[in-house]
């Protein structure tokens, strides 16, 4: 290395002075962590899966159409005619199942290690909300291919949502956007699936990560405690 900084270094220094890049790097990636094991990677794995779902999901909307007359055909088109359509939808399909699994395992790890205790209660509560929203993504996404399985799964699911007394029938109606499953159900599930729930999740993930970085992760519990 020469004494004079290279152009790239100069550019980095210029940006760093204004954006605080090296501070971000230090705080986010160079933060102190206790000696931990592989179970502590489940949160990152979930974040990775979420990112993949976002990317593949955005690309699926290039061809997918949320109307009863075209939904099924457009999914078929993605699977059979679009190049790598099978890959994009395949990742989204399997990623969805893996995401539920990984969120759950991540939650189990936090639970068994007692990592939800003071001062990390809020991280836990937000995590539980994220778990529920993940299930919501699974539920709303399942209807979108508009095949027999999707239709009947949503029939059953919205019926189950209607089991509480008094408010039950209202919940079913609101979920379906009317008396029965129709074009309105499909479009509202689509909207929930690609806008409302993901936006809420992104916000909560940001807070969740902020708390993880701010408070740090907990030591694995030891025998003496």
């Amino acid at each position: 290395m020469t004494d004079k900084p290279s152009r790239m270094q100069a550019l980095y220094a210029w940006l760093d002075e204004r954006l605080g890049l090296s501070t971000i790097y230090k705080v986010v990636l160079d933060r102190k962590v206790p000696k931990v094991n592989w179970w502590y990677t489940l949160g990152s794995a979930t974040l990775f899966l979420f990112t993949m779902q976002v990317i593949t999901g955005i690309f699926l909307t290039v061809y997918y159409v949320p109307t009863p007359d075209h939904a099924y055909d457009s999914v078929n088109y993605i699977m059979q005619d679009v190049s790598f359509g099978w890959l994009v939808r395949g990742i989204h399909h399997w990623g969805a199942s893996f995401m539920v699994l990984f969120v759950f395992l991540h939650m189990l790890r936090v639970f068994y290690m007692g990592a939800y205790k003071y001062p990390r209660e809020l991280t836990w509560v937000i995590g539980v909300l994220l778990f529920v929203l993940t299930l919501g993504m699974g539920f709303t996404g399942y209807l979108l291919p508009w095949n027999q399985r999707a239709y009947w799964a949503t029939t059953v699911g919205t019926q189950i949502a209607g089991t509480p007394p008094i408010i039950g029938p209202w919940i079913t109606r609101i979920l379906r956007g009317g008396e029965e499953i129709s074009a309105l159900t499909l479009s509202r599930f689509f909207s929930l699936h690609i806008w409302m729930i993901p936006a809420l999740m992104a916000l909560l993930i940001a807070v969740h990560l902020y708390l993880v970085i701010r408070i740090g992760i907990s030591n694995p519990p030891s025998k003496d405690e």
Binding site: M52, F59, H70, D73, Y77, S83, G85, I91
Partner: protein, 163 residues
């Protein structure tokens, strides 16, 4: 860091290298298919050529530009779409005919024949074309496109080439 030999790779540097390698492979592995995914339908070549019957020759009075329209159904992705076409047919004699596309050569709006001015005029940016297809005024860069034609048993056919 315990290593003293400066040529030894530290654990941190090793992980950086491996991490960025694995990251790049995965990024390319998904990124390139995504580009192809987005672009692929656009590169599909549809079309070829067709002879479109435009009816008996008597339908077209001599010297009078007459609009003939037809629609073709095409498959776009999951849907069949009908596309409409318009051509101006000018019969000069029983064998000599001109078939103009009504697509403006400027920005693809549709031109219309104005009897009073004896010109084709495009409503979008006011391009004017003569009965011969020549540009008279306006932004059009070249004369109106022409179609090949043939006459069989008194019926006019237009050669539609696409793709």
């Amino acid at each position: 860091m315990s290593s003293h030999n400066p040529h030894d790779l530290s654990r941190r540097d090793f992980l950086k290298v491996v991490g960025s390698f694995v990251g790049s492979v995965m990024g390319l592995g998904l990124g390139l298919p995504l580009v192809s995914y987005f672009v692929s339908p656009a590169l599909e070549v549809q079309g070829g050529d067709k002879w479109i019957p435009a009816g008996p020759l008597e339908n077209y009075p001599i010297g009078q530009p007459t609009l003939f329209t037809f629609t073709l159904t095409k498959k776009h992705g999951w849907e069949k779409t009908s596309q409409s076409y318009g051509v101006y047919i000018i019969r000069h004699s029983d064998t000599d005919i001109t078939v103009f596309s009504n697509v403006c050569t400027h920005l693809a709006c549709r031109v219309r024949w104005h009897d009073d001015q004896e010109q084709f005029i495009c409503p979008c940016h006011d391009a004017h074309f003569a009965e011969s297809g020549e540009v008279l005024s306006g932004p059009a860069p070249r004369p109106l496109d022409q179609y090949e034609y043939k006459i069989e048993d008194g019926t006019l056919y237009i050669h539609l080439v696409e793709g």
